[in-house]
């Protein structure tokens, strides 16, 4: 596949992520922060997010598994996850967290468990999507091309 084609593929794929709500405008902020001084910024931040969220999801699983559920602690964890997902533009993860927090407030264990399941799924999905995107980028760079500027014009 030649560079031009790869670049078009990258563009289409990125656009789809936005249209399907996996990513929001905040992701573009990250891309704008990437430059020659910081060539791997997006990958670094996203990687950090998945490391962090992996731990948080584990903690949440354990916390919800307790006989006596500590909703304050769970709320704190979800707040963290909401904050970081929001910061990188992982929109669907963030939205799950918002719902999750509401159920925490209601102290509804079952609903919380459902939310946890959903959040895990969304994290998994966006992780795969972004990995695909980054792989595309690597291919373009390897072929001597550059990543096109993303315009949010839809």
């Amino acid at each position: 596949m030649e560079v031009g084609q790869m670049q078009r593929q990258w563009l289409d794929y990125t656009r789809s992520l936005f249209i399907e709500g996996f990513l929001d405008g905040q992701f573009l902020q990250l891309e704008q922060l990437q430059d020659d001084n910081n060539p791997d910024f997006v990958v670094e931040v996203v990687s950090l997010f998945f490391q962090d969220s992996h731990k948080l999801l584990n903690d949440l699983t354990i916390a919800l598994d307790q006989k006596s559920v500590d909703f304050k602690k769970i709320d704190a964890h979800v707040h963290q996850l909401k904050g970081s997902s929001s910061s990188i533009g992982a929109q669907r993860v963030k939205n799950c967290c918002i719902a999750f927090r509401n159920f925490c407030e209601e102290q509804n264990t079952d609903a919380c468990l459902k939310c946890l399941h959903q959040v895990k799924q969304e994290c998994c999905l966006v992780k795969n999507k972004l990995e695909t995107l980054f792989r595309l980028e690597q291919q373009i760079m390897a072929a001597g091309g550059s990543i096109p500027m993303m315009e949010l014009s839809f």
């Binding site: 905040q26 902020q29 990250l30 704008q32 922060l33 910081n38 910024f41 670094e44 931040v45 950090l48 997010f49 962090d52 704190a76 707040h79 963290q80 909401k82 904050g83 970081s84 929001s86 910061s87 990188i88 533009g89």
Partner: protein
């Protein structure tokens, strides 16, 4: 009081007035507020504290201190233009001779003045009149003051203030010009003294931080000649907010060392989320600023104790101590000059190298910007109520940060 000093009043020693103007281009003071300006707990308006902070103690403290030093404080102000506070202090200048009493220089000297001139030339000092009774802020505070004994020194360097204590333009010429007129908070002395009396008997003592050697000395205020009604006070004003701070020699050192960093604002980020830290730091770097980072409120308080910051980006929802609480503690330090509120919250103050450093007064009000997720508990109202100056809603974007900083970095 060193008895030797007075015996040394020969030709090699004169007393001069040293004058300092502290001015700002702030909101100004309406004329009607002038008469009560130097009273304890009085501020320009009932909601002044809510808008601008402060406790109304600054000028009252200043007034007492300068009085004790035999000086006077005057104010001149124009609403929406600014205010000028002027204090004058009698200063004894002596040329060192062979029989110079070295105790003089150990006396309550103004360190900075001693440092400013070479030891070979002159020595001088401000006189305090230590007394055996009462504390620095005894109930007799404003009623009775001592007239300093300055022989060979104009007895009436300033014309008497107008009887109504009306604010008039502060003098610009030499303080030794006896024809100059100053506006002052004079006549209030008599009226405030009685109220001070009452306040004190109710236990409203004013606390002054330790560290300026003077404060440990016992001082009592004695009668002052009724004709000399002006009182003065050391006051260091920052920005548009009047803040009264005690003058420690340590603060002078702090300031000069910070001089070189003045062009780049010192910014502190208080955020517990690693991803947010990474993103915010990257944005800041783009804007050309570096930041110190701490992860919770307790660390933030410690950082403020150690360094002077111009801006703090404060996450609201944090473990250990949240942003609202942390801001409250920092504001309390700015107003009172001490960290007692922090201590009662369990934050131990880090031991500094010298005594001066741990009582370094805040140079100016720190701009605290809340980073809020806009939930109910992090609403803008809550942020302002706790002393924050503005807020940025999360997720933080480059544009939001840029606007916020531009607003405060002039």
């Amino acid at each position: 009081m060193n008895g030797d000093t007075e015996e040394e009043n020969h030709s090699t020693e004169t007393t001069v007035w040293i004058r300092c103007d502290v001015y700002d281009t702030g909101i100004g003071i309406p004329e009607k507020a002038i008469p009560t300006l130097f009273k304890r707990y009085m501020q320009v308006s009932a909601d002044h504290a809510r808008k601008y902070g402060g406790t109304g103690l600054g000028l009252a403290i200043c007034k007492q201190l300068v009085e004790l030093m035999g000086g006077r404080l005057t104010v001149s102000s124009k609403e929406h233009v600014g205010s000028t506070f002027t204090f004058i202090l009698p200063y004894k200048v002596s040329i060192p001779s062979s029989d110079e009493n070295s105790d003089d220089t150990d006396e309550l000297s103004d360190v900075d003045n001693n440092d400013a001139v070479s030891d070979d030339l002159t020595e001088g000092f401000f006189q305090f009149q230590p007394r055996t009774l009462g504390s620095l802020f005894s109930s007799n505070g404003s009623t009775r003051r001592t007239l300093h004994k300055f022989n060979g020194f104009p007895s009436n360097p300033f014309a008497l203030p107008s009887p109504n204590g009306v604010v008039s333009k502060a003098v610009t010429n030499s303080v030794e010009d006896s024809s100059s007129v100053v506006a002052d908070a004079s006549d209030l002395t008599e009226s405030t003294s009685s109220s001070d009396h009452r306040e004190n008997s109710e236990g409203g003592a004013v606390k002054l931080r330790q560290g300026c050697g003077d404060s440990s000395k016992e001082v009592n205020n004695e009668s002052r000649k009724s004709s000399n009604k002006c009182e003065g006070l050391i006051m260091k004003k920052e920005d548009e907010n009047s803040r009264c701070v005690s003058r420690c020699s340590g603060s002078r050192e702090e300031d000069s060392s910070k001089e070189c960093c003045r062009s780049k604002p010192k910014i502190l980020l208080v955020e517990d989320n690693k991803i947010n830290v990474m993103v915010t730091q990257s944005m800041m770097k783009r804007l050309g600023y570096s930041m110190d980072v701490v992860n919770n409120g307790v660390e933030a308080v410690k950082a403020v104790q150690r360094h002077t910051y111009d801006i703090i980006l404060m996450d609201v929802f944090m473990p250990v101590m949240n942003g609202l609480q942390t801001t409250k503690l920092i504001r309390s330090y700015e107003e009172t000059g001490n960290w007692d509120a922090a201590k009662s919250s369990g934050i131990e103050q880090i031991q500094q190298i010298s005594d001066y450093e741990c009582c370094v007064p805040p140079r100016k009000r720190i701009h605290i910007i809340a980073m809020t997720a806009n939930t109910v508990s992090e609403s803008a109202e809550e942020c302002y109520a706790n002393g924050m100056d503005s807020f940025v809603s999360k997720p933080v974007t480059f544009q939001k940060l840029k606007e916020c900083l531009e607003q405060y970095l002039r």
